[in-house]
Amino acid sequence: MSDLLLTLLLTLDATLRVSSPLILAAMAGLFSERAGVVDIGLEGKMLAAAFAAASVAAVFGSPWLGLAAAIVASCCLALLHGFATITHRGDQIVSGVAINILAAGLTIILGLAWFHQGGLTPALNNESRFLSITLPYVEQLAFIPVLGPIYKELISGHNILVYVAFAVVPLVWWVVFRTRFGLRLRAVGENPKAVDTAGLSVIKLRYQALIVGGILCGIAGAYIGTAYNAQFTRDMTAGQGFIALAALIFGKWRPLTVMLACLLFGFLDALAVRLQGVQIEGFGVIPVQLIEAAPYILTVVLLAGFIGRAIPPKAVGTAYVKER
């Protein structure tokens, strides 16, 4: 029993670690898509942020400076996206693709020029990383059956950004559904003309949404570069931005369900690692690739309307043209 519990706890523990950047990136996407701007560039922003965080942390030895750099890098790309799609009404998807490709190339080119390590950043020592935090009273509470181990193995022992990721979710919910800014944000994604008629600036609101998204993607990137890993490596986000996008759709653009989707996808990832080559009675070896592909399959099936319906914000993908 306790062995099984421990295995389960370790898998869930891994789930939390894998899900954190997904949650942050998906929340970034939520802001931007709720405001009517499609954000294919989550991947690129995270990658650029991971690079910025790992570089600055390596040079200055502080994860916090790294985090700041990550947020700046990610916000720059978010502003570029805004400049192209909001100011110049360019195609939002084309712009997102451009950002992804730019980030993929620039991180390697700049890394090579600055550190001469084949595109990698120097490995970070512990002082320049976000390390796991042990929550108080872990040992004192360990004697409590079930809850003790859960507190010790699952809840305690993560780095600060994991807690940030999970704290961001209720915050996003509150901002989007309980504040004036959130109401306007949702309105601008559903019916920008109405917002404009009410005397609010569609352009300003959309830029604000993109910047919030930039900050969140920056945190996600810093997590990938300086907390989950200890250096930047080529294409290290490895499609997590797209998984976050899938989770955003799977969670139907609502913070809590999006978080659950991220947890589900993170769990599948953790499971895939754990089931690598494991023989299961009656099944044989489950192909790991199938579990890894599950988030994409699930999202496609959902989008096809076979399980429920995913209806995006109405004005998503279209630039707003003010009538003259």
Binding site: V38, I40, L80, F83, A84, T85, H88, R89, G90, D91, I93, V94, S95, V97, A98, I99, N100, I101, L102, A103, A104, G105, L106, I108, I109, L110, L112, A113, H116, G119, G239, F242, L245, A246, I249, P287, Q289, L290, E292, A293, Y296, I297, T299, V300, L303, A304, G305, A310, P312
Partner: protein, 373 residues
């Protein structure tokens, strides 16, 4: 020249040229940022791409891939669809080509093998685009999202197949056994040798002719046939197309299948023409590169060939650059692709208001005539 003509010139010529120049200029800034003299880099790059026979061979070899994916993206663009899934379609196209070859008797002649592998690549590429197309046309899911998902699905599927099913017996690396020599697309240097010319060996193979045939075929299809008209009409205005008796749902299916099939042909150049076996990740970057090529080539086959040649040059020249200069890698080409997509795609109209204000200002006369931009 009256104002309307000037605006046409701005849109057709000035704007695209300025956009490409901006992308070049920003690339130069990137070079300067990493302490590389852009002119010196350009010189090495051009030498690598055109300075010797082998280099030229490589350049055209890479160009071939970009023609296929550029055409693929363009056909979908004309139908108003953004096929971001060229990566996956090229990968699965390779599976189709490989399976076609492995299913045939190895003693058969090349006249059977090569068409069979081409058909395999076309079919599998089209199939991988068909599912997102069907979901877009009949189930209302967005093609961009589904094609992204299908890129990842293709990667997972291929990893599984390469590791568990197609791997050569007794080998650690996940690659299939070699194709029978009859199935190889002939190298250009071999063909030339057969005709009495001696050319340095390079991966350049006859697939480049296939790419040019495809370019002509795409031009003919889009501008000279009923289906091409239907595709372009749907892309311009699908609501209006319906009143012309066009069925947009079918158009989506047809355009995406052609797009996927064209992307699938990358595998003919890469696998049947050069590597001669199924390998992992042979397609990487060409699907996305195709987006840059199509945008830069203004979705026209001639423009696409020119843009593909530019990216082929950058690919091969970039390899030379990485070899010559320690601080640079071929990824500079990726940066350049990103910049082209940014300035020729997303920021396509950045200069337009300014150009129109300076070169074709609204005068009393024109505004009285009621001409609008």
């Amino acid at each position: 020249m009256n104002r309307e003509n000037r605006i046409t010139w701005i849109n057709r010529l000035l704007l695209p040229v300025l956009n490409v120049l901006t992308a070049f200029a920003v690339t130069a800034v990137v070079f300067w940022l990493i302490d590389v003299n852009p002119l010196e880099a350009a010189e090495i790059l051009l030498y690598g791409a055109f300075g010797y026979e082998e280099g030229i061979g490589y350049t055209i070899y890479y160009t071939t891939n970009f023609i296929f994916t550029g055409l693929a993206v363009a056909v979908a663009f004309h139908a108003g669809l953004f096929n971001i899934g060229g990566e996956g379609q090229a990968y699965i196209g390779g599976l189709g080509a490989g399976l076609a070859i492995f299913m045939l008797d190895p003693t058969l002649g090349a006249w059977l093998f090569i068409p069979a592998s081409i058909i395999g690549a076309l079919l599998f590429g089209a199939l991988w685009a068909l599912i997102p197309a069907y979901l877009q046309a009949y189930r209302g899911s967005h093609i961009v999202i589904t094609t992204i998902m299908f890129n990842f699905l293709a990667a997972s599927l291929m990893v599984y197949l390469m590791v568990h099913v197609l791997r050569e017996m007794g080998q650690m690396t996940p690659q299939s056994e070699l194709f029978p020599t009859n199935a190889w697309m002939p190298f250009v240097h071999d063909v030339a040798a057969g005709m009495g010319y001696s050319i340095e060996a390079s991966p350049l193979n006859l697939s480049v002719l296939l790419a040019l045939v495809c370019a002509v075929a795409v031009w003919f299809f889009l501008w000279q046939t009923r289906w091409g008209y239907a595709i372009r009409a749907t892309g311009k205005n699908s609501t209006a197309a319906v009143y012309g008796g066009i069925k947009p749902k079918r158009v989506i299916i047809v355009a995406m299948c052609i797009s996927g099939a064209l992307a699938g042909l990358v595998s003919i150049n890469e696998l049947v023409g050069y590597q001669h076996r199924l390998v992992m990740d042979f397609h990487l970057g060409y699907g996305f590169g195709g987006i840059a090529v199509a945008l830069m080539g203004r979705n026209h086959p001639v423009g696409i060939i020119v843009a593909a040649l530019l990216f082929g040059t950058l690919y091969q020249g970039g390899a030379e650059l990485a070899f010559e200069m320690s601080g640079v890698s071929r990824d500079i080409v990726v940066v350049m692709q990103g910049l082209v997509i940014l300035f020729c795609g997303a920021l396509e109209y950045m200069y337009r208001p300014w150009l129109i204000r300076t070169l074709a200002p609204v005068t009393q006369q024109t505004s009285a005539a009621g001409v609008t931009v």
